[in-house]
Symmetry: C2
């Protein structure tokens, strides 16, 4: 299943097609070459001072017990569907600069940059990938030995698209509902906070 | 100029071609339709609970004085080259959930997700885009009226690629130097912290 975003302005198809689905095929594992491409995409993302404050813990099912412990970190609402994904990846942010140990205020932001790259590579490979904040970060820290100075950010379910009919009713409804975002004027300002950016007007030839 | 990343594993060309250049063409402005596509790409990014905690302040040169004040926020090392970009976009993170005002610990992370989408749409349009942490966030807050509860994250220079020869020697050297990232084993672990993920071994058919 695909659900490309119905954009108001042209956007590259890879960005439009990226989507966070819930229906995964539990029987189809992600090949190692694909996993390597996902992580490579994450690796080449930009970061402040090229710090690369991201770490990724991979639960690919080779170690079935580790995957199960990762699934056990999910909140119930996510576990209901994400347990069917054949693998999980946990993103983790380094909180301090390598060079001097002072706080890196872009650490979590840059993990977001890197994770976007991973999610888009999944789209490119025809994979379903869904990043979740809804997991127990403290439990993940304990379960996997994540040291102080690093913060678990997102649990990412990865796999192939599955049958929507396997979802519980509420999640099936979410899966099939239209995609929603704020309108542009709620997130974009022109030169000062709350000053509107009139995209439409500026697109008329007479306004140039 | 392009400088695609020499990846060790296949990665979609849009992700490979994204790059943070310094040489901008100061005479070529970004058309309004392209700006709309950049912001649309940012708008459709994923976020925790679909909060969309991102805001973007656009300094496109229509208001020359606002653009100049945005440039004045850059640290000298960035200003040296980024002043030549015809526009800047400032990304800002909302720190609290809209629904109840409690802290959203994914706010900055999700701005990173959204910014990655913007940067990749720039790549798709043949634009140069370079996100910078090196700017005075407090000055930006005062200059543009950014309220409490929101944090300036990145100043993003956007424009067309320019002549590398216009850069100062140090920046010209950076522009032409090979791209560097940590190796995969520095950022990827398998099922537990510091447990190596052996991509190469797993790619051999006998290991499947």
């Amino acid at each position: 299943m695909e659900k490309p975003f119905p954009t108001d302005h042209p956007v590259h198809e890879l960005l439009r097609r990226r989507w966070s689905p819930r229906a995964f095929d539990p029987h189809r594992r992600v090949p190692p070459e694909a996993i390597a491409s996902l992580l490579e995409a994450a690796r080449i993302a930009p970061s402040c001072f090229n710090e690369q404050p991201w770490r990724f813990l991979v639960f690919d099912g080779e170690d079935a017990e580790a995957l199960e412990r990762a699934r056990d970190c999910l909140v119930p609402g996510n576990a209901a569907w994400a347990r069917r994904a054949p693998m999980l990846i946990l993103s983790v942010a380094q909180e301090r600069w390598s060079r001097d140990g002072t706080p890196d205020r872009w650490g979590q932001h840059d993990v977001g940059l890197s994770t976007a790259s991973l999610l888009l590579q999944a789209t490119a490979l025809g994979l379903a990938a869904h990043a979740m904040g809804g997991f127990d970060a403290d439990r993940a820290r304990r379960s996997f030995g994540i040291p102080d100075g690093f913060t678990p950010m997102a649990m990412i379910a990865v796999g192939y698209f599955g049958d929507v009919e396997t979802l519980e009713p509420k999640q099936k409804a979410q899966e099939l509902a239209p995609r929603q975002r704020k309108s542009m004027d709620g997130i974009v300002f022109h030169g000062a906070w709350d000053r509107p950016y009139r995209l439409e007007a500026r697109e008329e030839p007479t306004s140039r």
